[in-house]
Symmetry: C2
Subunit: 207 residues, 2 copies
């Protein structure tokens, strides 16, 4: 896993070519393979086939397997945030805004199987690739946390003693629900309608 590099290795890619069509084509193939098999289970042969190029071409665009993996994760983390949260500024009456926001978020997370596979992989590899896990926190989790916190803080009529803690609770409830129902395949074992979770949350907040 950890490997010696020539001194002064240039971050992880060949820099000048990161955004060529071929590079994107390879990354696209790599996404399929890594999401399906995980880091260790993904082979550079499969990536090459999925991308429609030869294995040597993969190595000419990315330094090695680890570099390809890191480029892949960084790319996905950044392109994910846009879709999870619309660019809505979060304004309006709390009960309605929260209700819409939470159900939209839940729907997005449960429907999007690529998102599920991505989260699985990042969590699974978070012990061996801590920087990638942190990138996920910075680019996906933190922005959502800050948006919700800001909204809650700007509504003092909610009487929340700690809006940031509340924001964490909201995110936790949603993400954990998706984790149990979808990622861990628990929907038959511990069934619960999405609406119950959302209403339960809103009740607690507005009560």
């Amino acid at each position: 896993m950890v490997r010696i590099r020539r001194a002064k290795a240039k971050s992880q890619e060949k820099e000048s070519e990161v955004n060529t069509i071929k590079s994107q084509q390879i990354l696209q193939g790599a996404i399929q393979v890594f999401l399906a098999h995980g880091y260790a289970g993904a082979s550079m042969d499969k990536v090459a086939v999925a991308a429609g190029v030869s294995k040597a071409t993969v190595y000419s665009h990315f330094q090695d397997k680890e570099g390809l993996f890191k480029a892949l994760v960084q790319k996905m983390t950044q392109q994910r945030f846009k879709s999870v949260f619309g660019d809505q500024p979060l304004k309006g009456e709390p009960k309605i805004v929260l209700s819409k926001l939470l159900s939209a978020g839940l729907e997005k997370m449960t429907e999007d199987s690529e998102y599920l596979a991505f989260k699985r992989m990042v969590i699974g590899e978070s012990g061996r690739f801590p920087e990638l896990a942190q990138a996920c926190v910075i680019y996906m989790i933190k922005p959502v946390f800050e948006a919700i916190s800001q909204y809650l803080t700007s509504h003092p009529e909610l009487n929340l003693p700690d809006p940031e803690a509340t924001s964490r609770i909201i995110m936790g409830a949603l993400v954990h629900y998706v984790m149990v129902q979808e990622m861990l395949h628990g929907s038959d074992i511990l069934p619960m309608e999405k609406e119950r979770l959302i209403n339960g949350l809103i009740d607690l907040i507005l009560k």
Copy 2:
């Protein structure tokens, strides 16, 4: 990954020998290796070395790599539940009981690095081993959910319209907190004291 078995393969182990000292010794070595490297990254050679036996001995106790992995996960899921939840029947004044329960649970989860590694692995492999993920739901998540639900339900003075949803919210807040701070190494990026989360939760519930 999926492999053909002789017809009538006996579940996954050699049954009569599951609880021999050698089997436990092998499982102990396997735990170290699988938790450190994940399923695909773990090799039977490493397991044999970690267990202090030869590779052939590993194969004489477990049918193959997949069988060993499944035995390992089942063993860990079951031995975990005891420790996460003391056998306390959850009685007493809500504010105190909840406060103690939540902080004890958080402490256990954040401190126990083996628990973190185990969750990482189960989630990471949940796409390729759905039955193992479900075992985790049945033996670890469901009992906790039911204990909390039962406690909340038995305290109608809390005025909770949906104690089961509330139970989910509590678990979600705690588990997600641990996931962000510890598993994803986010404690420097999104810092928050445990007490703030717990107090935030209790405020919402008792409010």
